[in-house]
Symmetry: C2
Subunit: 165 residues, 2 copies
DNA sequence: TATTGTTATACTCTATAACTATA
DNA sequence: TATAGTTATAGAGTATAACAATA
């Protein structure tokens, strides 16, 4: 709505000295009020944090962990389902499953009711790694959401679920 | 929302026929309860939607629009500040500003108080494009958040702000 | 004829290091 | 010596099209 959102209290002539290390002053802008922008920043923080922890302890990225977690869910997803649910191209699923399969964490089984489809299931080793990954990603969530109360986290989960699905 | 959704004890022998087009059954998994995962899905939807609308009407991507919006804010950000605020490498800011500058939407001005720094400001044309982009991204937010009430959107904005900053 | 998985390819994005000009 | 911006480049991620096997 605002055509020029110049905040009256910050003159255009602010010097570099006043600006140094204060990019947070840009939080006043219209952009920083948009939910889409905030969601992008929040998920960037969360993904970066989870990637660091998963990589350090399990040599896994979040994408790989997501596939492993679904493979270990007991729901026997096909690659096509993984592609749809994770919003990834089928060819990307191939690469992710390849990596997990080479490490002995998942298996490809041909679906007996449709021999075109491959069902991805976790091995015993895969389930073990998934359990540790689950603990790690939950800890990561806790760290990133440290400023939120338990109630606020539940609110957030409910709201995001409405948007994601 | 699905038809007859399989309860928690979904047998491992679910057939492909029962599975066809129902990757939503994976919403039952632990993974789909994690806030980090939900945030990633929500922002993927939001970014994709905003990118389509911005590209169609203004031939801009969200990244470019973000820079343009901050340049038009009246706060005279330096490239370094844009880098910090948008969580992008300084070299990526160079490319983004190059594109906007070639289209006559922003200008690089040398900061008189520190000749190393470049202040990015929007031209008249840039401000006009930003205003249209602002309307487009707000409409995009509305579309993606259609299932949320005004109150819920404010809740979400407040929660995401706590996480993002 | 349509769909699943696969391969190949090109394109975009991201991360890193080195260089310049200023401080 | 340190910092802002720039360039170059390599790596990761993404998107597209074509193909074989199966439906």
């Amino acid at each position: 709505m605002a055509t020029t959102d110049t905040p009256t209290e910050t003159p255009a002539e602010a010097s570099t000295a006043e600006r140094a290390g204060h990019s947070e002053r840009l939080r006043q802008t219209d952009l920083a009020q948009q939910i889409q922008f905030l969601a992008a920043k929040a998920r960037a923080r969360g993904t970066a944090h989870a990637n660091r922890m998963l990589t350090a302890e399990l040599d896994l990225k979040v994408r790989q962990f997501s596939v492993l977690s679904l493979a270990a869910s007991g729901l026997n997803p096909t690659q096509r389902e993984l592609s749809q649910f994770l919003d990834l191209d089928p060819s990307q699923i191939v690469a992710l499953v390849d990596g997990l399969e080479q490490r002995g964490l998942v298996l490809r089984e041909t679906d007996p009711t449709d021999r075109r489809s491959r069902i991805i299931v976790a091995t015993d080793a895969g389930r073990s790694v998934r359990d540790r990954g689950q603990a790690i990603t939950e800890a990561s969530d806790d760290a990133v959401l440290a400023d939120l109360t338990a109630q606020e986290r539940e609110q957030l989960r409910a709201l995001l679920t409405k948007i994601a699905f």
